[in-house]
Amino acid sequence: MKRIFKLKHWDGISTKEIKNLKNKTKTIGIIGASRKLGVTHVSICLANFLHSALKEKVLYIELGNESSLFGFVGQTRVQIEDSVGFMYKGVIYVLACEIKEAVKLIDSYKGYIVIDVTNISEETKVILNRCEKLNVIGSMKPWCKADVYNLFNLMKGGGIKNTLFLNKSQEKNEITEFIRAFKIPGVALPIIDNPFSIKEKDFASLIKMIM
């Protein structure tokens, strides 16, 4: 009885999870099974959480040929190794980054790295294999399920052990179905309104994406 009361009173976040988090995972990848699932949104949330909430050094790498973030974060230019980055709210953004350049940054950067992997290909697999944690965003809705299966088939044999599936909808049945099929942990994708103004209540779900 006493324990229940205590839990109700302390409905905050335990620092035990933060302590466990430290020095374990440094390179975190985020990939989407289908298009427009919010990969960039979640990646920015993670990067901002690591820097603003935990005061960690964070490098954000966006793979691809073009970037829609440039207009927003691209005001303060910084040099990071041989690459050009942009500092925004303490996070360094390397936008529209090529695979070779990304590999070099992953190998040399001392701090957390959040990688926004747009899609899976033979080239991006090189990056995925270097991630210590991979967050896959997908939807187990009947019309999207095939994309999730395709992605996991393509990733087979990649050697990524620490993967978390983030289901676009909050439906528990869908998450259970995914866990049964792939034997990989799955949770509902957290709803975070503004990735540049994270709320404390979002911390617990963001910690799961790093651990």
Binding site: W10, D11, G12, I13, S14, T15, K16, I18, K19, N20, K22, N48, F49, H51, S52, A53, L54, K55, K89, G90, V91, P195, F196, S197, I198, K199, E200, F203
Partner: protein
């Protein structure tokens, strides 16, 4: 040189100053029998136009704290200016006989800012006074009146003005002929407040000292930027003094600041927070210099974070999140501010606990305002004998902080020290 042709209107009462080509006279205006000041200068004198420009300068200024100009005359031989005779002791004369109370000091400082604000907000463009010193400040019924605008200039003409002013009171840039703007008057106002503070019962008040230090920064860019800002700071200080008794303990701030690094400032601040919470006061720790709370977040595993506060047993710490986390409204309660070694941050607080390590290789410099009653000295990692020696030297009690066996919990000796210190602070 006593001017001719004034006898019809004025009787000379006293010659205040006289040279071959100039004169300053105290005269009686016959028509109404009032005392006035008559300044006269020969037209051939290079400063002759100055008298006229002084009158022009004062024209657009709306303030009862500057003398009224009655007439300006421009004859074939002389230039005259007749102005109000401001009666009363100068600030220097007044302070020779009187020691100001803290309240009086703040009131006079605000009054000085009022007149300076009137000059800086003059109708057409700001007037830079340039010659503020105790001899030019007259005290009349508890307020300040300013006299002698001989070297004042309009801001637009300040760049071409001859570098004039009085050493000690004038801003450094003014004396070397640098760029002159309102901030050179702010420097002089700061100097006057400092002069008044030395001759007051508030001479150890670190809050006034902080205001003075900012106003008298030799670097113009670091100096208080406007007279309004300076006045606002003085008003805030005045209000905080007025509300001192009514200020609830929930709004009080206690600063813990070290004279050097690694003297135990953070430990003492954390333990003070624990102690206050233990005795039922709501106290929150805040680190304004480092990221101690984030280290606690990472290293403690039995703490909880809720609404921007880290809770661990009796400890409550305000988390300093970065820009990308939605800010929380600070909780109501006593704030224990860990200032590291930043003494400037400490001077914003109501009580200051200064931690000093008396080892010879440590910095032991104490500020000049150490005798303020809201400042307590804690000798940490130091022997009792060293604490006694320091107490004798600074003529102030030095508390010896106990040697700790464990940093994880408060010990009785620590509680006794905190209790002794805080019993002097009735509000807490």
């Amino acid at each position: 040189m006593i001017p001719h042709g004034i006898e019809d209107e004025y009787d000379i009462v006293q010659i205040l100053q006289e040279t071959a080509a100039t004169a300053v006279l105290l005269v009686n205006y016959k028509k109404i029998g009032a005392l006035r000041i008559l300044k006269a200068i020969h037209r051939a004198h290079p400063n002759a136009p100055n008298i006229l420009s002084e009158a022009h300068l004062l024209q657009g200024i709306k303030s009862s704290q500057i003398p009224t100009i009655y007439s300006v005359e421009d004859t074939a031989e002389m230039n005259y200016l007749v102005e109000e005779f401001v009666e009363g002791p100068t600030l220097r004369e007044y302070l020779l006989e009187t020691k100001l109370s803290k309240e009086e000091l703040i009131q006079l400082s605000i009054s000085l800012c009022d007149v300076m604000e009137a000059l800086h907000m003059a109708k057409d463009e700001p007037v830079i006074y340039r010659d503020l010193k105790p001899e030019h400040i007259i005290l009349q019924e508890g307020r300040i009146r300013l006299i002698d605008f001989g070297i004042s200039v309009k801001k637009s003409k300040a760049a071409k003005a001859v570098p004039l002013g009085t050493k000690k009171w004038a801003a450094p840039e003014q004396l070397i002929g640098g760029i002159i703007d309102e901030r050179c008057d702010i420097y002089s106002v700061g100097k006057i407040i400092e002069y008044m503070q030395i001759n007051s019962y508030g001479k150890d008040d670190y809050k006034i000292r902080k205001i003075v230090n900012r106003a008298t920064m030799p670097d113009i860019e670091k100096r208080t930027s406007s007279i309004k800002e300076l006045k606002h700071q003085l008003y805030e200080l005045n209000n905080s003094n007025d509300n001192e008794n009514g200020k609830g303990n929930l709004e009080k701030k206690i600063a813990v600041v070290g004279t050097d690094h690694a003297v135990g400032t953070t430990l003492i601040a954390i333990n003070m927070c624990r102690y206050l919470n233990k005795i039922g006061k709501k106290a929150y720790y805040r680190d304004v210099e480092g990221d101690c709370i984030h280290k606690l977040m990472s290293n403690l595993e039995d703490a909880v974070i809720k609404e921007g506060i880290l809770y661990h047993k009796k400890f409550k710490g305000i988390i300093n999140y970065g820009d990308a986390v939605e800010p929380h409204i600070p909780p109501k309660g006593l704030k224990i501010i860990d200032c590291g070694t930043n003494i400037d941050k400490a001077t914003d607080c109501d009580v200051i606990i200064m931690v000093i390590n008396l080892s010879p290789w440590k910095n032991q410099n104490l500020p000049t305002w150490i005798n303020d009653k809201s400042i307590y000295i804690l000798g940490n990692l130091s022997s009792k004998l060293d604490c006694i020696k320091l107490a004798k030297r600074i003529k102030k009690q030095v508390y010896k902080y106990p040697q700790l066996q464990s940093v994880k919990r408060l010990n009785k000796e620590e509680e006794r020290i905190f209790s002794t210190i805080l019993q002097n602070e009735k509000d807490i």
